[in-house]
Amino acid sequence: MYAPNQQLINKNIREERFKSILSFLTVIIFFPALMIILWLLIKGGPALSWEFIFSSPTKGMTAGGIFPAIVGTLWLVGLCVIISCPLGVLAAIYLSEYAKDNHTTRIIRLCILNLAGVPSIVHALFGLGAFVLFLRMGTSILAASCTLAVMNLPVIITSTLESLQAVPRSFREASWSVGASKLQTIRHIVLPNSIPGILTGMVFAVSRAAGETAAILFTGVAFYLPFLPMNVFDQCMSLSMHLFTISTQVVGVPDSYSYATALVLISMVLVVNTLSVAMRWYFRSRRKW
Protein backbone atom coordinates (compact mmCIF):
# COMPACT_ATOMS: atom_id res chain seq x y z
CA MET A 1 0.00 0.00 0.00
CA TYR A 2 1.06 3.50 -0.66
CA ALA A 3 1.58 5.38 2.57
CA PRO A 4 1.96 9.14 2.37
CA ASN A 5 5.24 10.09 3.91
CA GLN A 6 5.50 12.48 6.80
CA GLN A 7 6.84 15.29 4.67
CA LEU A 8 3.80 15.26 2.43
CA ILE A 9 1.43 15.25 5.39
CA ASN A 10 3.22 18.21 6.90
CA LYS A 11 3.00 19.99 3.61
CA ASN A 12 -0.73 19.48 3.46
CA ILE A 13 -1.21 20.64 7.02
CA ARG A 14 0.81 23.74 6.33
CA GLU A 15 -1.19 24.34 3.21
CA GLU A 16 -4.47 24.19 5.07
CA ARG A 17 -3.19 26.42 7.83
CA PHE A 18 -1.93 28.95 5.30
CA LYS A 19 -5.26 29.03 3.55
CA SER A 20 -7.25 29.51 6.72
CA ILE A 21 -4.98 32.33 7.90
CA LEU A 22 -5.45 34.13 4.61
CA SER A 23 -9.20 33.71 4.62
CA PHE A 24 -9.30 34.92 8.22
CA LEU A 25 -7.33 38.05 7.30
CA THR A 26 -9.71 38.69 4.44
CA VAL A 27 -12.75 38.47 6.66
CA ILE A 28 -11.06 40.72 9.22
CA ILE A 29 -11.00 43.59 6.73
CA PHE A 30 -14.76 43.71 6.51
CA PHE A 31 -15.50 43.05 10.12
CA PRO A 32 -14.85 46.60 11.40
CA ALA A 33 -16.90 48.19 8.61
CA LEU A 34 -19.78 45.86 9.31
CA MET A 35 -19.64 46.59 13.02
CA ILE A 36 -19.52 50.30 12.32
CA ILE A 37 -22.60 50.23 10.13
CA LEU A 38 -24.46 48.17 12.73
CA TRP A 39 -23.37 50.58 15.45
CA LEU A 40 -24.54 53.57 13.43
CA LEU A 41 -27.87 51.84 12.87
CA ILE A 42 -28.30 51.11 16.55
CA LYS A 43 -27.30 54.56 17.77
CA GLY A 44 -28.64 56.69 14.94
CA GLY A 45 -31.63 54.67 13.83
CA PRO A 46 -34.02 55.75 16.61
CA ALA A 47 -33.35 59.44 15.91
CA LEU A 48 -34.23 59.08 12.25
CA SER A 49 -37.61 60.42 11.26
CA TRP A 50 -39.20 62.28 8.38
CA GLU A 51 -39.04 65.35 10.54
CA PHE A 52 -35.27 64.92 10.99
CA ILE A 53 -34.77 64.68 7.25
CA PHE A 54 -37.15 67.47 6.24
CA SER A 55 -36.42 70.19 8.77
CA SER A 56 -33.60 72.66 9.37
CA PRO A 57 -31.08 72.52 12.19
CA THR A 58 -32.11 74.60 15.19
CA LYS A 59 -30.58 75.79 18.47
CA GLY A 60 -27.09 76.33 17.07
CA MET A 61 -27.11 73.02 15.20
CA THR A 62 -27.80 70.91 18.27
CA ALA A 63 -31.34 69.97 17.35
CA GLY A 64 -33.75 69.89 14.46
CA GLY A 65 -33.02 68.25 11.13
CA ILE A 66 -30.60 68.16 8.26
CA PHE A 67 -32.72 69.18 5.27
CA PRO A 68 -30.51 72.05 4.03
CA ALA A 69 -27.48 69.77 4.15
CA ILE A 70 -29.21 67.11 2.08
CA VAL A 71 -30.36 69.67 -0.47
CA GLY A 72 -26.85 71.12 -0.64
CA THR A 73 -25.31 67.74 -1.23
CA LEU A 74 -27.80 67.06 -4.03
CA TRP A 75 -26.93 70.39 -5.68
CA LEU A 76 -23.21 69.73 -5.45
CA VAL A 77 -23.38 66.17 -6.71
CA GLY A 78 -25.82 66.97 -9.50
CA LEU A 79 -23.76 69.83 -10.85
CA CYS A 80 -20.55 67.86 -10.44
CA VAL A 81 -21.95 65.05 -12.60
CA ILE A 82 -23.22 67.49 -15.22
CA ILE A 83 -19.74 69.00 -15.50
CA SER A 84 -17.52 65.95 -15.21
CA CYS A 85 -19.44 63.37 -17.23
CA PRO A 86 -19.27 64.96 -20.68
CA LEU A 87 -15.64 65.82 -20.14
CA GLY A 88 -14.74 62.39 -18.82
CA VAL A 89 -16.58 60.58 -21.60
CA LEU A 90 -14.89 62.72 -24.27
CA ALA A 91 -11.50 62.02 -22.71
CA ALA A 92 -12.21 58.30 -22.61
CA ILE A 93 -13.37 58.28 -26.25
CA TYR A 94 -10.16 60.03 -27.20
CA LEU A 95 -8.00 57.54 -25.32
CA SER A 96 -9.87 54.50 -26.58
CA GLU A 97 -10.55 55.46 -30.21
CA TYR A 98 -8.13 58.17 -31.29
CA ALA A 99 -4.99 58.10 -29.18
CA LYS A 100 -1.96 56.58 -30.80
CA ASP A 101 0.61 54.74 -28.77
CA ASN A 102 2.95 57.68 -28.38
CA HIS A 103 4.41 60.08 -25.88
CA THR A 104 1.37 62.33 -25.58
CA THR A 105 -0.87 59.40 -24.74
CA ARG A 106 1.56 58.24 -22.13
CA ILE A 107 1.58 61.68 -20.54
CA ILE A 108 -2.23 61.79 -20.58
CA ARG A 109 -2.40 58.45 -18.81
CA LEU A 110 0.14 59.59 -16.26
CA CYS A 111 -1.84 62.77 -15.65
CA ILE A 112 -5.04 60.80 -15.09
CA LEU A 113 -3.20 58.58 -12.64
CA ASN A 114 -1.88 61.60 -10.80
CA LEU A 115 -5.21 63.38 -10.85
CA ALA A 116 -6.60 60.36 -9.01
CA GLY A 117 -3.71 60.39 -6.55
CA VAL A 118 -3.59 64.07 -5.66
CA PRO A 119 -4.72 64.59 -2.05
CA SER A 120 -8.23 65.97 -1.84
CA ILE A 121 -7.05 68.98 0.15
CA VAL A 122 -4.76 69.89 -2.75
CA HIS A 123 -7.79 69.74 -5.03
CA ALA A 124 -9.44 72.13 -2.59
CA LEU A 125 -6.51 74.54 -2.88
CA PHE A 126 -6.70 74.30 -6.66
CA GLY A 127 -10.43 74.96 -6.57
CA LEU A 128 -9.89 77.98 -4.36
CA GLY A 129 -7.14 79.37 -6.56
CA ALA A 130 -8.66 78.57 -9.94
CA PHE A 131 -12.43 78.64 -9.62
CA VAL A 132 -13.15 80.82 -6.62
CA LEU A 133 -10.49 83.48 -7.16
CA PHE A 134 -9.22 83.38 -10.74
CA LEU A 135 -12.50 82.63 -12.52
CA ARG A 136 -14.33 84.81 -9.99
CA MET A 137 -17.00 82.26 -9.15
CA GLY A 138 -16.75 83.19 -5.49
CA THR A 139 -17.42 80.60 -2.83
CA SER A 140 -20.39 79.07 -4.55
CA ILE A 141 -22.00 75.77 -5.44
CA LEU A 142 -20.55 76.21 -8.93
CA ALA A 143 -16.96 76.50 -7.69
CA ALA A 144 -17.35 73.56 -5.32
CA SER A 145 -18.92 71.41 -8.02
CA CYS A 146 -16.15 72.26 -10.47
CA THR A 147 -13.60 71.20 -7.86
CA LEU A 148 -15.47 67.95 -7.26
CA ALA A 149 -15.73 67.44 -11.02
CA VAL A 150 -11.96 67.69 -11.48
CA MET A 151 -11.52 65.24 -8.62
CA ASN A 152 -13.98 62.77 -10.08
CA LEU A 153 -12.72 63.02 -13.64
CA PRO A 154 -10.30 60.07 -13.33
CA VAL A 155 -13.07 57.85 -11.95
CA ILE A 156 -15.30 58.59 -14.93
CA ILE A 157 -12.51 58.35 -17.48
CA THR A 158 -11.32 54.98 -16.17
CA SER A 159 -14.75 53.37 -16.02
CA THR A 160 -15.81 54.75 -19.41
CA LEU A 161 -12.54 53.67 -20.98
CA GLU A 162 -13.06 50.19 -19.64
CA SER A 163 -16.53 49.87 -21.13
CA LEU A 164 -15.48 51.39 -24.47
CA GLN A 165 -12.68 48.90 -24.77
CA ALA A 166 -14.98 46.05 -23.86
CA VAL A 167 -16.80 46.60 -27.17
CA PRO A 168 -15.23 44.03 -29.50
CA ARG A 169 -13.03 45.36 -32.26
CA SER A 170 -15.01 43.36 -34.82
CA PHE A 171 -18.03 45.61 -34.19
CA ARG A 172 -15.98 48.61 -35.26
CA GLU A 173 -14.48 46.81 -38.24
CA ALA A 174 -17.92 45.78 -39.47
CA SER A 175 -19.06 49.39 -39.23
CA TRP A 176 -15.99 50.76 -41.05
CA SER A 177 -16.33 48.17 -43.77
CA VAL A 178 -19.79 49.40 -44.73
CA GLY A 179 -18.37 52.88 -45.12
CA ALA A 180 -19.11 54.55 -41.80
CA SER A 181 -16.63 57.17 -40.69
CA LYS A 182 -14.76 56.88 -37.43
CA LEU A 183 -17.11 59.27 -35.72
CA GLN A 184 -20.22 57.56 -37.09
CA THR A 185 -18.88 54.28 -35.81
CA ILE A 186 -18.34 55.77 -32.38
CA ARG A 187 -21.78 57.33 -32.32
CA HIS A 188 -23.82 54.46 -33.65
CA ILE A 189 -21.84 51.40 -32.65
CA VAL A 190 -19.36 51.99 -29.84
CA LEU A 191 -21.30 54.36 -27.60
CA PRO A 192 -24.67 52.54 -27.65
CA ASN A 193 -22.91 49.34 -26.75
CA SER A 194 -21.02 50.86 -23.86
CA ILE A 195 -23.72 53.12 -22.39
CA PRO A 196 -24.43 50.68 -19.52
CA GLY A 197 -20.80 50.69 -18.43
CA ILE A 198 -20.60 54.45 -18.69
CA LEU A 199 -23.75 54.88 -16.59
CA THR A 200 -22.42 52.50 -13.97
CA GLY A 201 -19.25 54.55 -13.72
CA MET A 202 -21.26 57.74 -13.38
CA VAL A 203 -23.30 56.33 -10.54
CA PHE A 204 -20.09 55.27 -8.83
CA ALA A 205 -18.74 58.80 -9.26
CA VAL A 206 -21.90 60.15 -7.65
CA SER A 207 -21.29 58.07 -4.55
CA ARG A 208 -17.73 59.35 -4.39
CA ALA A 209 -18.77 62.97 -4.78
CA ALA A 210 -21.52 62.73 -2.17
CA GLY A 211 -19.12 61.81 0.60
CA GLU A 212 -16.29 64.18 -0.25
CA THR A 213 -15.54 66.86 2.30
CA ALA A 214 -12.04 68.25 2.00
CA ALA A 215 -12.37 69.31 -1.63
CA ILE A 216 -15.41 71.47 -0.98
CA LEU A 217 -14.15 72.90 2.28
CA PHE A 218 -13.08 76.32 1.02
CA THR A 219 -14.86 76.47 -2.28
CA GLY A 220 -18.55 76.69 -1.61
CA VAL A 221 -19.76 75.03 1.53
CA ALA A 222 -20.90 76.91 4.58
CA PHE A 223 -21.07 75.65 8.15
CA TYR A 224 -24.61 76.85 8.55
CA LEU A 225 -27.07 78.58 6.29
CA PRO A 226 -30.59 79.44 7.36
CA PHE A 227 -31.93 79.27 3.78
CA LEU A 228 -31.81 76.86 0.87
CA PRO A 229 -29.63 77.64 -2.14
CA MET A 230 -31.58 79.16 -5.03
CA ASN A 231 -29.00 79.07 -7.82
CA VAL A 232 -25.47 77.86 -8.50
CA PHE A 233 -23.90 81.08 -7.24
CA ASP A 234 -25.24 80.59 -3.72
CA GLN A 235 -23.32 78.83 -1.01
CA CYS A 236 -24.82 75.70 0.42
CA MET A 237 -24.50 73.28 3.29
CA SER A 238 -23.43 69.72 2.68
CA LEU A 239 -24.13 66.54 4.56
CA SER A 240 -20.46 65.57 4.85
CA MET A 241 -19.44 69.03 6.01
CA HIS A 242 -22.36 69.10 8.42
CA LEU A 243 -21.19 65.85 9.99
CA PHE A 244 -17.69 67.26 10.34
CA THR A 245 -19.02 70.44 11.92
CA ILE A 246 -21.31 68.85 14.45
CA SER A 247 -18.80 66.22 15.50
CA THR A 248 -15.80 68.52 15.97
CA GLN A 249 -16.73 72.20 15.95
CA VAL A 250 -20.00 72.47 17.83
CA VAL A 251 -20.26 71.69 21.51
CA GLY A 252 -23.28 70.00 23.02
CA VAL A 253 -24.61 68.12 20.03
CA PRO A 254 -26.60 65.14 21.30
CA ASP A 255 -25.15 61.80 20.23
CA SER A 256 -28.28 60.69 18.49
CA TYR A 257 -28.22 63.76 16.22
CA SER A 258 -24.70 63.22 14.94
CA TYR A 259 -25.15 59.45 14.67
CA ALA A 260 -28.29 59.96 12.65
CA THR A 261 -26.50 62.42 10.36
CA ALA A 262 -23.68 59.94 9.80
CA LEU A 263 -26.25 57.23 9.16
CA VAL A 264 -28.05 59.31 6.53
CA LEU A 265 -24.76 60.15 4.79
CA ILE A 266 -23.47 56.60 4.76
CA SER A 267 -26.80 55.19 3.62
CA MET A 268 -26.97 57.69 0.77
CA VAL A 269 -23.50 56.71 -0.37
CA LEU A 270 -24.04 52.98 0.03
CA VAL A 271 -27.43 53.01 -1.66
CA VAL A 272 -25.99 54.78 -4.69
CA ASN A 273 -23.06 52.39 -4.64
CA THR A 274 -25.39 49.39 -4.49
CA LEU A 275 -27.25 50.82 -7.46
CA SER A 276 -23.99 50.96 -9.40
CA VAL A 277 -23.13 47.35 -8.52
CA ALA A 278 -26.64 46.16 -9.38
CA MET A 279 -26.53 47.97 -12.71
CA ARG A 280 -23.25 46.36 -13.56
CA TRP A 281 -24.61 42.88 -12.80
CA TYR A 282 -27.78 43.48 -14.74
CA PHE A 283 -26.04 44.83 -17.83
CA ARG A 284 -23.36 42.19 -17.78
CA SER A 285 -25.94 39.44 -17.76
CA ARG A 286 -27.65 41.04 -20.76
CA ARG A 287 -24.54 41.67 -22.79
CA LYS A 288 -24.85 40.51 -26.36
CA TRP A 289 -21.29 39.31 -26.85
Partner: protein, 303 residues
Protein backbone atom coordinates in the same frame (compact mmCIF):
# COMPACT_ATOMS: atom_id res chain seq x y z
CA UNK B 1 -14.94 58.71 -61.30
CA UNK B 2 -16.57 56.66 -58.62
CA UNK B 3 -13.40 56.15 -56.62
CA UNK B 4 -12.57 59.81 -56.82
CA UNK B 5 -15.87 60.86 -55.33
CA UNK B 6 -15.31 58.49 -52.43
CA UNK B 7 -11.87 59.86 -51.83
CA UNK B 8 -13.09 63.43 -51.83
CA UNK B 9 -15.82 62.49 -49.38
CA UNK B 10 -13.19 61.22 -47.02
CA UNK B 11 -11.09 64.31 -47.13
CA UNK B 12 -13.91 66.84 -46.99
CA UNK B 13 -15.76 65.71 -43.93
CA UNK B 14 -18.70 67.72 -42.71
CA UNK B 15 -17.76 70.52 -40.39
CA UNK B 16 -19.84 69.13 -37.53
CA UNK B 17 -17.77 65.99 -37.57
CA UNK B 18 -14.53 67.93 -37.40
CA UNK B 19 -15.87 70.06 -34.56
CA UNK B 20 -16.84 66.99 -32.57
CA UNK B 21 -13.50 65.32 -33.17
CA UNK B 22 -11.84 68.52 -32.03
CA UNK B 23 -13.91 68.41 -28.86
CA UNK B 24 -12.92 64.80 -28.26
CA UNK B 25 -9.28 65.70 -28.63
CA UNK B 26 -9.66 68.63 -26.27
CA UNK B 27 -11.37 66.33 -23.76
CA UNK B 28 -8.47 63.93 -24.06
CA UNK B 29 -6.03 66.67 -23.25
CA UNK B 30 -8.08 67.97 -20.32
CA UNK B 31 -6.33 65.88 -17.70
CA UNK B 32 -2.97 67.35 -18.71
CA UNK B 33 -4.58 70.76 -18.44
CA UNK B 34 -5.87 70.05 -14.95
CA UNK B 35 -2.58 68.70 -13.62
CA UNK B 36 -0.80 71.73 -15.06
CA UNK B 37 -3.56 73.92 -13.64
CA UNK B 38 -3.21 72.48 -10.17
CA UNK B 39 0.52 73.13 -10.22
CA UNK B 40 0.09 76.59 -11.72
CA UNK B 41 -2.62 77.88 -9.42
CA UNK B 42 -1.03 76.55 -6.26
CA UNK B 43 2.24 78.14 -7.33
CA UNK B 44 0.42 81.37 -8.13
CA UNK B 45 -1.24 81.58 -4.74
CA UNK B 46 1.93 80.69 -2.86
CA UNK B 47 4.34 82.68 -5.04
CA UNK B 48 4.41 85.64 -2.68
CA UNK B 49 5.95 83.43 -0.03
CA UNK B 50 8.03 81.06 -2.18
CA UNK B 51 9.70 83.84 -4.14
CA UNK B 52 9.65 86.28 -1.24
CA UNK B 53 10.44 85.48 2.35
CA UNK B 54 10.85 81.74 1.76
CA UNK B 55 13.35 80.37 4.24
CA UNK B 56 14.48 77.03 2.86
CA UNK B 57 16.21 75.86 6.00
CA UNK B 58 13.37 76.84 8.30
CA UNK B 59 10.64 75.43 6.05
CA UNK B 60 12.17 71.99 5.69
CA UNK B 61 14.20 71.48 8.84
CA UNK B 62 12.48 73.34 11.65
CA UNK B 63 9.77 71.78 13.75
CA UNK B 64 8.40 75.11 14.91
CA UNK B 65 5.08 75.94 13.28
CA UNK B 66 3.81 79.18 14.80
CA UNK B 67 1.86 80.99 12.10
CA UNK B 68 -0.18 83.09 14.50
CA UNK B 69 2.47 83.83 17.08
CA UNK B 70 2.85 87.40 18.28
CA UNK B 71 6.60 87.42 18.96
CA UNK B 72 8.05 85.20 16.29
CA UNK B 73 6.17 83.80 13.35
CA UNK B 74 7.71 80.51 12.24
CA UNK B 75 6.84 78.19 9.40
CA UNK B 76 8.80 75.00 10.04
CA UNK B 77 7.11 71.94 8.57
CA UNK B 78 9.29 69.15 9.91
CA UNK B 79 7.00 68.32 12.83
CA UNK B 80 4.02 68.25 10.47
CA UNK B 81 5.94 65.95 8.15
CA UNK B 82 6.82 63.78 11.14
CA UNK B 83 3.12 63.65 11.98
CA UNK B 84 2.20 62.68 8.43
CA UNK B 85 4.93 60.07 8.19
CA UNK B 86 4.28 58.51 11.60
CA UNK B 87 0.59 58.11 10.90
CA UNK B 88 1.18 56.88 7.35
CA UNK B 89 3.89 54.40 8.27
CA UNK B 90 2.00 52.92 11.19
CA UNK B 91 -1.11 52.54 9.08
CA UNK B 92 0.93 50.75 6.43
CA UNK B 93 2.33 48.40 9.08
CA UNK B 94 -1.26 47.23 9.53
CA UNK B 95 -2.55 47.60 6.02
CA UNK B 96 0.19 46.27 3.76
CA UNK B 97 0.53 42.72 5.18
CA UNK B 98 -3.20 42.30 5.63
CA UNK B 99 -3.97 43.86 2.27
CA UNK B 100 -1.49 41.71 0.38
CA UNK B 101 -2.62 38.58 2.21
CA UNK B 102 -6.16 39.44 1.22
CA UNK B 103 -5.08 40.03 -2.39
CA UNK B 104 -3.42 36.59 -2.40
CA UNK B 105 -6.51 34.96 -0.97
CA UNK B 106 -8.93 36.61 -3.37
CA UNK B 107 -6.77 36.02 -6.40
CA UNK B 108 -5.49 32.50 -5.70
CA UNK B 109 -7.50 30.63 -3.07
CA UNK B 110 -10.99 31.97 -3.18
CA UNK B 111 -13.78 30.10 -5.00
CA UNK B 112 -14.91 32.23 -7.97
CA UNK B 113 -18.36 32.85 -6.52
CA UNK B 114 -16.90 34.21 -3.31
CA UNK B 115 -14.41 36.31 -5.23
CA UNK B 116 -17.16 38.42 -6.79
CA UNK B 117 -18.74 38.93 -3.39
CA UNK B 118 -15.45 40.04 -1.86
CA UNK B 119 -14.77 42.43 -4.70
CA UNK B 120 -18.14 44.07 -4.19
CA UNK B 121 -17.52 44.27 -0.44
CA UNK B 122 -14.19 45.93 -1.10
CA UNK B 123 -15.93 48.46 -3.32
CA UNK B 124 -18.32 49.21 -0.49
CA UNK B 125 -15.46 49.62 1.94
CA UNK B 126 -13.84 52.06 -0.46
CA UNK B 127 -17.06 54.01 -0.74
CA UNK B 128 -17.38 54.93 2.93
CA UNK B 129 -16.69 58.68 3.01
CA UNK B 130 -13.61 59.89 4.84
CA UNK B 131 -15.64 62.17 7.08
CA UNK B 132 -17.60 59.14 8.30
CA UNK B 133 -14.30 57.44 9.11
CA UNK B 134 -13.30 60.57 10.99
CA UNK B 135 -16.56 60.50 12.89
CA UNK B 136 -15.93 56.86 13.79
CA UNK B 137 -12.45 57.78 14.99
CA UNK B 138 -13.94 60.38 17.31
CA UNK B 139 -16.91 58.50 18.69
CA UNK B 140 -15.83 54.85 18.60
CA UNK B 141 -12.06 54.41 18.41
CA UNK B 142 -11.31 57.31 20.75
CA UNK B 143 -13.13 55.91 23.82
CA UNK B 144 -12.00 52.41 22.87
CA UNK B 145 -8.34 53.42 23.07
CA UNK B 146 -8.83 55.37 26.29
CA UNK B 147 -10.50 52.40 27.95
CA UNK B 148 -8.16 49.70 26.75
CA UNK B 149 -4.81 51.46 27.11
CA UNK B 150 -5.59 53.99 29.82
CA UNK B 151 -4.20 56.89 27.80
CA UNK B 152 -5.22 60.49 28.28
CA UNK B 153 -6.59 60.96 24.80
CA UNK B 154 -7.68 58.44 22.23
CA UNK B 155 -7.17 60.93 19.41
CA UNK B 156 -3.61 60.02 18.52
CA UNK B 157 -1.32 58.34 16.01
CA UNK B 158 -2.67 54.87 16.71
CA UNK B 159 -6.25 55.97 16.18
CA UNK B 160 -5.49 57.69 12.89
CA UNK B 161 -3.35 54.77 11.75
CA UNK B 162 -6.12 52.26 12.44
CA UNK B 163 -8.64 54.36 10.54
CA UNK B 164 -6.23 55.02 7.69
CA UNK B 165 -5.32 51.38 7.32
CA UNK B 166 -8.99 50.50 6.90
CA UNK B 167 -9.33 53.31 4.38
CA UNK B 168 -6.33 52.34 2.27
CA UNK B 169 -6.97 48.57 2.38
CA UNK B 170 -9.40 48.52 -0.55
CA UNK B 171 -6.85 50.19 -2.81
CA UNK B 172 -4.03 47.89 -1.73
CA UNK B 173 -6.18 44.79 -2.14
CA UNK B 174 -7.49 45.66 -5.57
CA UNK B 175 -4.15 46.80 -7.02
CA UNK B 176 -2.39 43.82 -5.43
CA UNK B 177 -4.97 41.47 -6.86
CA UNK B 178 -4.51 42.99 -10.31
CA UNK B 179 -0.79 42.42 -10.00
CA UNK B 180 -1.29 38.75 -9.08
CA UNK B 181 -3.78 38.18 -11.87
CA UNK B 182 -1.29 39.64 -14.31
CA UNK B 183 1.09 36.75 -13.62
CA UNK B 184 0.59 34.33 -16.54
CA UNK B 185 -1.37 31.19 -15.78
CA UNK B 186 1.46 29.12 -17.28
CA UNK B 187 3.70 30.04 -14.31
CA UNK B 188 1.22 28.47 -11.91
CA UNK B 189 0.76 25.44 -14.11
CA UNK B 190 4.49 24.90 -14.43
CA UNK B 191 4.94 25.08 -10.65
CA UNK B 192 1.98 22.80 -10.06
CA UNK B 193 3.41 20.34 -12.55
CA UNK B 194 6.56 20.20 -10.46
CA UNK B 195 4.46 19.25 -7.45
CA UNK B 196 4.48 22.59 -5.66
CA UNK B 197 1.75 23.24 -3.14
CA UNK B 198 -0.28 26.44 -3.26
CA UNK B 199 1.80 27.88 -0.45
CA UNK B 200 4.96 27.20 -2.43
CA UNK B 201 3.45 28.65 -5.57
CA UNK B 202 2.40 31.75 -3.69
CA UNK B 203 5.71 32.40 -1.97
CA UNK B 204 8.21 31.18 -4.54
CA UNK B 205 6.51 31.85 -7.86
CA UNK B 206 3.86 34.52 -7.52
CA UNK B 207 5.62 36.69 -4.99
CA UNK B 208 8.75 37.16 -7.09
CA UNK B 209 6.80 37.40 -10.34
CA UNK B 210 4.36 40.01 -9.07
CA UNK B 211 6.87 41.77 -6.83
CA UNK B 212 6.76 45.11 -8.60
CA UNK B 213 3.02 45.21 -8.84
CA UNK B 214 2.66 44.36 -5.16
CA UNK B 215 5.16 47.08 -4.30
CA UNK B 216 3.13 49.51 -6.40
CA UNK B 217 0.03 48.47 -4.45
CA UNK B 218 1.75 49.25 -1.16
CA UNK B 219 3.06 52.51 -2.55
CA UNK B 220 -0.37 53.62 -3.72
CA UNK B 221 -1.62 52.77 -0.24
CA UNK B 222 1.03 55.10 1.15
CA UNK B 223 -0.08 57.79 -1.28
CA UNK B 224 -3.66 57.37 -0.20
CA UNK B 225 -2.77 57.56 3.48
CA UNK B 226 -0.48 60.52 2.96
CA UNK B 227 -3.14 62.56 1.23
CA UNK B 228 -6.07 61.71 3.43
CA UNK B 229 -7.41 64.83 5.07
CA UNK B 230 -10.72 64.75 6.89
CA UNK B 231 -10.35 61.48 8.74
CA UNK B 232 -6.84 62.40 9.85
CA UNK B 233 -7.89 65.90 10.83
CA UNK B 234 -10.51 64.42 13.13
CA UNK B 235 -8.48 61.48 14.46
CA UNK B 236 -4.99 62.79 15.18
CA UNK B 237 -5.80 65.12 18.04
CA UNK B 238 -4.30 68.29 16.62
CA UNK B 239 -1.06 68.83 18.42
CA UNK B 240 2.07 69.81 16.54
CA UNK B 241 5.01 67.84 17.83
CA UNK B 242 7.54 65.15 17.13
CA UNK B 243 5.85 61.98 18.34
CA UNK B 244 7.64 59.76 20.82
CA UNK B 245 5.04 57.02 21.10
CA UNK B 246 2.02 55.82 19.16
CA UNK B 247 -0.23 57.37 21.79
CA UNK B 248 0.97 60.90 21.07
CA UNK B 249 -1.40 63.20 19.29
CA UNK B 250 0.17 64.78 16.20
CA UNK B 251 -0.84 66.93 13.28
CA UNK B 252 -0.32 66.18 9.62
CA UNK B 253 0.41 68.36 6.60
CA UNK B 254 -3.05 67.83 5.14
CA UNK B 255 -4.83 68.52 8.42
CA UNK B 256 -2.89 71.75 8.88
CA UNK B 257 -4.11 73.12 5.57
CA UNK B 258 -7.68 72.07 6.27
CA UNK B 259 -7.67 73.51 9.77
CA UNK B 260 -5.91 76.81 9.15
CA UNK B 261 -6.82 77.97 5.67
CA UNK B 262 -10.27 79.08 6.76
CA UNK B 263 -8.81 81.36 9.41
CA UNK B 264 -5.93 82.85 7.46
CA UNK B 265 -6.66 86.13 5.66
CA UNK B 266 -6.64 85.76 1.87
CA UNK B 267 -3.35 86.80 0.31
CA UNK B 268 -1.54 87.06 3.65
CA UNK B 269 1.71 85.29 4.31
CA UNK B 270 0.12 82.52 6.38
CA UNK B 271 -2.29 81.86 3.52
CA UNK B 272 0.59 81.68 1.05
CA UNK B 273 2.54 79.31 3.27
CA UNK B 274 -0.45 76.99 3.43
CA UNK B 275 -0.48 76.91 -0.37
CA UNK B 276 3.23 76.15 -0.24
CA UNK B 277 2.34 73.19 2.00
CA UNK B 278 -0.13 72.15 -0.67
CA UNK B 279 2.62 72.30 -3.25
CA UNK B 280 4.80 70.17 -0.99
CA UNK B 281 2.01 67.58 -0.73
CA UNK B 282 1.36 67.70 -4.46
CA UNK B 283 5.01 66.99 -5.20
CA UNK B 284 5.11 64.15 -2.66
CA UNK B 285 2.03 62.46 -4.09
CA UNK B 286 3.22 63.07 -7.65
CA UNK B 287 6.52 61.35 -6.89
CA UNK B 288 4.76 58.38 -5.29
CA UNK B 289 2.36 57.96 -8.20
CA UNK B 290 5.10 58.17 -10.81
CA UNK B 291 7.17 55.63 -8.91
CA UNK B 292 4.19 53.26 -8.64
CA UNK B 293 3.43 53.66 -12.34
CA UNK B 294 7.06 53.00 -13.20
CA UNK B 295 7.05 49.83 -11.08
CA UNK B 296 3.92 48.50 -12.75
CA UNK B 297 5.14 49.32 -16.23
CA UNK B 298 8.63 47.97 -15.57
CA UNK B 299 7.09 44.62 -14.74
CA UNK B 300 4.87 44.74 -17.82
CA UNK B 301 7.95 44.96 -20.01
CA UNK B 302 9.80 42.08 -18.43
CA UNK B 303 7.09 39.43 -18.49
Amino acid sequence: METQSIRSKRSVRPRSERVIEGLIKAGGMSSILFIAGILLFILKESSGYIFGSFNFVEFFTSGEWNPASVEKIEYGTLALLAGTLSVTMLSMVFAVPIGLACAFYISEFCPPQLRETYKILIEFLAAIPSVVWGFIAVVIVNPLLINSFGVATGLNILNAALILSLMSLPLIVSIGEDALRAVPESYREAAEGLGATKWEIATRVLLPAAKNGLMAAALLGVGRALGETMAVLMATGHSIRFPSSVFDPVRTLTATIAAELGESPKGGEHYQVLFALGLYLFILSFAINILADWLVRGRGKKV
